[in-house]
Amino acid sequence: MKTIEEIKAAIEAAVPGAGVEVVPNPSPSAQHSLRLEPERAVEVARFLRDDAELALDFLSNVTGVDWPDREVAEKVKVTRTVTKIVEGVEQAAEETAEETQKRVEPGYLEVVYHLFSVEKKYGPVVLRMRTVNRTDKVELPSLTPVWRSAEFQEREIYDLFGVFFTGHPDLRRILMWEGFQDHPMLRDYVEPDDFEYEPTAHDEVLARAQAHEAAVAGREGTGVGQ
C-alpha cells in the first residue's frame, strides 16, 4: 500500500497540473486526505480507478461538510510612524504595537469521498473538494460517471447541502420532497414555520407556538397570506 504522499506523486505524474494537496488529519486514526482542484477532479478520479497499481475501484462513502464563515482573531504586529515630542522637539519615530485584528475567513462547502480498493484490499484513500463559497458558486464536478455508487450519495448532498454536481445524470432531491426550498444540513438552516404545533405545547415548543400564532394573527390582520 502506498502512503498518501506517494499517491499524490503518482497523481501529479499522471495528470500534470492536478493541484493536489495533502490535508493532514491530527486524530489517532491518521486518515489523511487529498484535496483536489475541481477542474481536473474527474480526470484524477478516472486515473485512481484505472491505474493498475492503485486500483481504487470501490467508492464507499460520499458526504458533504458545511464550513460556514469564520471570524478569526489574530494578533498582528503593527508598525506605524508616530510623532513624538522628545525634549521639546517634534520627532518622527517608529512604534511597534500588538493589535488584535479580526478578519472573516470565507466559508465553503466540502465534499468528501472515501475510496477503497477491492482488488488490492486497502484503504481508505480520502479525497476532498471545496466549493468557492456557500451560496451561489457551489458547482463541483460529479464523480458518478467514474463510480456509480456516487449517484444516490451525490443526490443526497445536493438535497441536504445544496452542492450542485455538474455532469450528474439525474440530480434531483432524494430525501426531501420535490419543491422543498432549503438545504437542511447547512449549519445556519432555520426550520420553516409552516406546521401547526401540538395543543399542549411546553418549553421551547411553547415559545415557538406563540411566535407562530402571533405571525398568523399578524397575517390575518393585514389580509396577507390567507
Partner: protein, 391 residues
C-alpha cells in the same frame, strides 16, 4: 481477470449506467407507482415503474418517507447520546449499528477494547447476522408467495436469539449495548450457557431449513437467472454484503479490515457464481453456517476480565480535533460512520454510510426486462430496512 482489470478493458463511457431497453412498436407505455404502501416494499418505499405490457422498461426508486435527518440530530447531541439513535437505523440489527459507531469513535479517540468485550461484540454481532439472514430469507420467500410458513419458521429461531438480546441488554431490538472502549454490562455465565444452548440448536435448524427450501423445484425455477448483477457493476456501484459476494467478489470486511478479533476465528467467505436471486439466498444461508462456526469458537474461548477500558471516557467525551471513518461488515453490507470532531462535546459532522441505500443504486439495472412480479422478488433479495435507507 480481476475486476479492476476488467474495468480497465471496458472502455466505452456509460457502461455503468442502466442499459436502454428496446421497446415493442405496438402498444403504450404504462407508468405505475408501486408503493409507498405496498406489502412487498418492506416499509414505505416507492418505485416508479415504466411498463411495456408486463415488462419493466424503467424503474425510479423514491425515498424519504421515513427521513428524520438522523445526522442533524446526532450533530446536536453528545457522542454518547447518539448511541441509542443508531439502534433505529437498521432496526433489525441494532447491535451491529452500535458496533460500527463505537468503532468509529474508538478510531477518532484512539481507544483500546478489552479482550472480553471484543469476544462479546463478536458473539452479539454474529448472532445478529444469523437472525438477520434468517429473517431476510423468510421475507424473500414470503415475497415469492409462500405465505407465512417459511417466514414463521425462520422467526421461530430468530425469537430465541432476540430473547438472548433481551436478557443481556434489556431490549429485544433496541439494544443500545456497545460503548466507546467496551460494552455496557458484562454477560453472566448463565447467559453464556443460554447462548451456547441456542447456538447448539442452530446447525440442525439451518440444515432443515436448507433442505426444505434450496432444492425445491418451484423455488429454483423462480429465482435462478433472475435479477443478475454483473460483478464489474457491483463493485463500481458500491454494492456490499451478501449482494456483492453473490456476484462472486471475495470482499468481506471481517477478512479485509481485520477489525475486532476476527483474525482469531477460522471461517470461510461463501461466494456466488451467477449473481442472481438464488445465489443471494444461498450466500446468506451459507454465511449463517460460517457464523455458527465463529459463535461456537467464541463461546468456547471467551476469557474473563473487564468489559470496559478503564481509561475510556463516555460521558462528556470531547475528542481532539480530527476525523475518522470506521466501518464494519454489518449483515446488510458495509456500515460506516464518518465523524469530524472540532474538539466540542458533539460531533461537528456525523455521517452514516448506509448499506441499504447504496445497495439500491443498481435496482433498476437488475429489474429491467423482468415482469412486475419479479421486481418484488429482486427487491426482496437486496434485503433493505427503510429506517436505514431514509435515516
Amino acid at each position: 481477470m480481476t475486476v479492476s482489470g476488467a474495468i480497465r478493458k471496458m472502455k466505452p463511457e456509460g457502461w455503468n449506467r442502466p442499459p436502454l431497453v428496446k421497446l415493442d412498436s405496438e402498444g403504450e407505455l404504462l407508468e405505475i407507482a408501486m408503493g409507498p404502501h405496498h406489502p412487498s416494499t418492506h416499509g414505505v418505499f416507492r418505485m416508479n415503474l415504466t411498463l411495456d405490457g408486463e415488462r419493466v422498461v424503467g424503474l425510479k426508486p423514491e425515498f424519504g418517507y421515513l427521513h428524520r435527518n438522523h445526522e442533524k440530530i446526532a450533530e446536536s447531541i453528545s457522542y454518547l447520546a447518539c448511541m441509542p439513535y443508531t439502534d433505529r437505523l437498521d432496526y433489525i440489527c441494532s447491535l451491529t449499528n452500535n458496533w460500527a459507531y463505537a468503532l468509529a469513535v474508538e478510531k477518532l479517540v484512539g481507544l483500546e477494547v478489552p479482550e472480553r468485550a471484543e469476544y462479546l461484540r463478536v458473539i452479539l454481532g454474529e448472532l445478529t447476522r444469523v437472525q438477520n439472514h434468517l429473517g431476510a430469507t423468510g421475507f424473500l420467500i414470503q415475497d415469492m408467495g409462500a405465505s407465512g410458513t417459511p417466514l414463521m419458521y425462520a422467526f421461530k429461531e430468530r425469537e430465541k436469539i432476540l430473547d438472548l438480546f433481551e436478557s443481556l441488554t434489556g431490549s429485544r431490538m433496541m439494544c443500545n449495548y456497545m460503548r466507546f472502549g467496551g460494552c455496557r454490562v458484562d454477560a453472566s455465565s448463565a447467559w453464556l450457557d443460554a447462548a451456547r444452548k441456542v447456538v447448539a440448536g442452530l446447525p440442525s435448524f439451518v440444515g432443515e431449513f436448507e433442505s426444505l427450501l434450496c432444492t425445491n423445484e418451484i423455488l429454483m425455477a423462480r429465482t435462478q437467472e433472475m435479477g443478475i448483477l454483473r460483478r464489474e457493476l457491483a463493485v463500481n456501484a458500491g454494492v456490499t454484503g451478501p449482494l456483492l459476494r453473490a456476484s462472486g467478489i471475495n470482499y468481506d470486511l471481517r477478512k479485509v479490515d481485520h477489525y475486532g478479533i476476527y483474525d482469531r476465528f477460522d471461517f470461510r467467505v461463501p461466494l456466488g457464481e451467477h449473481g442472481d436471486v438464488y445465489d443471494r439466498m444461498m450466500v446468506r444461508l451459507l454465511e449463517v453456517r460460517e457464523s455458527i462456526k465463529i459463535l461456537e469458537a467464541a463461546l468456547k474461548d471467551i476469557p474473563g476480565g473487564p468489559v470496559m477500558d478503564s481509561k475510556a471516557k463516555n460521558r462528556g467525551l470531547r475528542p481532539k480535533p480530527g476525523e475518522a471513518y470506521g466501518r464494519i461488515e454489518a449483515p446488510k453490507g458495509e456500515l460506516g460512520f464518518y465523524l469530524i470532531s472540532d474538539g466540542g462535546p458533539n460531533p461537528y459532522r456525523y455521517r452514516v454510510r448506509p448499506p441499504s441505500l447504496i445497495n439500491l443504486t443498481i435496482l433498476e439495472d437488475m429489474c429491467l426486462g423482468h415482469s412486475v412480479a419479479d421486481v418484488v422478488l429482486i427487491f426482496g433479495s437486496v434485503d433493505i430496512v427503510l429506517g436505514e435507507v431514509d435515516r
